[in-house]
Amino acid sequence: MQRLTLEDVAVRFGRIEALRGTSLELRAGEVFLLAGPNGAGKSTLIRVLLGLVAPTRGTLRVDGAPVRADRAFRARLGYLPESVAFSESSTGREVVSFFAAARGAPKKRIDEVLERVGLADARSRLVRGYSRGMRQRLGLAVALVAPCELLVLDEPTGGLDQDALTLLWSVLDEHRAAGCVVLLASHEIALLESRVDRLGLLARGQLVALGDPTSLRERAALPVRVKVAPRADADRDALVRALERVGTFAPVRGARALELDVQPSRLLELLDLDAAHRAGIADLQIVPPPFDEVYRRLLSEAA
């Protein structure tokens, strides 16, 4: 699978239009993040891919050829649902064993994948004794138990500690390197920004923004925060006046800190400050806006 394409896909549940003609292309070897507010249509789009919801119109294509999300197609995917709750009276190994049998994975794969997600020591414990993070790891083990060409992870970061997040990043990297299509749906966009290749923002059933994180940042054109630490002997008032010509001062949190918001296109003007003013600066940091703000800006633009 080199390209998985959703073409003008619409889904209607009674009066509710969950997806309104969404088109999207997912590529092999990329990690794609689907983001958007609750009710935007993320889960519906995933369910169309999984064959759980039939679209009212639109086409699903693999490498250009129209396909149905039938058994043959579903044999090629791995899936981690959001907030999955496996049977409490089964052991971790029994849960993975069932899904391995159902997906035709060899038995040796059960222990391998439990080892991979860090549950080897807990394999014989009942799921009811698992923490939230362990349950999420178990879900990941189920998604990974058989090789797949399309890996769909719905809110994969929920309840994960730092070790588990490191595991998740390595899983993403491995699947990217293996040429899989990886689709994530998550609200944790700031956490995932640096881990994904492209992302799409859904709002009210439509894709309102699509691109790599850098291009979306550029599109949002949010000011960057410039933190200036003046020298003790600097003429602070003169420095403030000079900086005011470049950006807008943000509320100052520290007695000595100067923080101003500067449009990215005007950052170079900081270099044009007089030598005397530049000499009064002990340290200067440029902090890009958190991706949550980029997300909010793009959504508000779409609204």
Binding site: V53, A75, E82, S89, P106, R109, P147, A178
Partner: protein, 282 residues
């Protein structure tokens, strides 16, 4: 794109590709899960306990064991087996839906009908174990000569249970919440086990018997619990047993009874499969 190394990790193809892989895995998984279900275990153990008590009581009634043990067990089973069966079936699909595992299950290369059949088979096997345990306990406790008579109850009792597992499965497919499913199956149990006959009696009284024996007989045997009771009481007590008990019911032929059992067992399964196949998982 899957690398060749990854492809080789798949299990080797069997010489005879046997379909129903997910269904088989599911049936086994369901059987194991049900045998750990506390409610099912408690009701089954209670049934086994009471059944063995019936067996012991019949044994103590010297010379009259045949008249006591079999009919008493039929009455006991007609109360307990539908309850065990409904407890086994009611959360089959809706439970998966609430745990968010139904989507995961259906995202695998499996037909939805296979999921329904796998669920049914696993739970049906658990039911057969519970019935076998109960009647087995009764056979061990009963008088030695009674065991063969009681063994004849196994098939119909399992059929009764399978019908109610199937009904529970249908309820589980149609509703959206497990608590709703539980309420519905309790209502079904009361309806089929208690109120159905009372309702018929009320109709007979209200119409002063004008609705006709044929229709009454059909309505009695149309209820799986009624069919179970009358066919086994007739079989245990001979042709006049029903009349002696004051039941003016004509028993349908063996093939008609088989057809009724099949309708109750397979009808709800087919409806469940159709409902799940048509349902979008929102």
């Amino acid at each position: 794109m899957t690398s060749s190394t990854e492809r080789s990790e798949r299990a080797p193809a069997p010489i005879f590709a046997f379909p129903f892989r997910v269904g088989r895995a599911l049936a086994f998984h369901e059987l194991r899960e049900r045998t750990r279900d506390r409610w099912v275990l408690v009701i089954s153990a209670l049934f086994a306990l009471l059944a063995s008590a019936v067996g012991l009581y019949g044994r103590s009634a010297e010379g009259n064991a045949a008249a006591i043990t079999g009919p008493s067990l039929v009455t006991l089973a007609s109360l307990f087996v539908p309850l065990v069966a409904l407890a086994l079936g009611y959360d089959a699909i809706v439970g998966e839906r609430e745990r968010n595992t139904l989507g995961l299950l259906l995202s695998m290369p499996v037909a939805r009908t296979e999921v329904i059949v796998g669920k049914f088979v696993g739970r049906a096997l658990a039911l057969c174990l519970a019935v076998g345990l109960g009647l087995g306990a009764a056979m061990l406790a009963a008088a030695p000569g009674e065991a063969r008579t009681l063994a004849a109850l196994l098939g119909p009792t399992m059929a009764l249970g399978l019908a109610f597992v199937s009904v529970g499965l249908l309820v589980s497919t149609l509703v959206s919440r497990q608590s709703t499913a539980a309420s519905v199956v309790v209502a079904i149990w009361f309806l089929f086990v208690f109120f159905y006959d009372l309702g018929l009696l009320a109709i007979l009284v209200a119409t002063e018997g004008a609705i006709g024996d044929e229709l009454v007989s059909s309505l009695v045997v149309g209820n799986p619990t009624g069919l179970y009771r009358v066919s086994l009481l007739a079989s245990l007590g001979g042709e006049n047993a029903l009349t002696d008990l004051g039941l003016d019911v004509s028993l349908p032929s063996a093939s008609a009874r088989g057809a009724i059992w099949c309708a109750w067992i397979f009808g709800p399964i087919a409806l469940s499969a159709a409902a799940l196949s048509r349902r979008a998982l929102r």
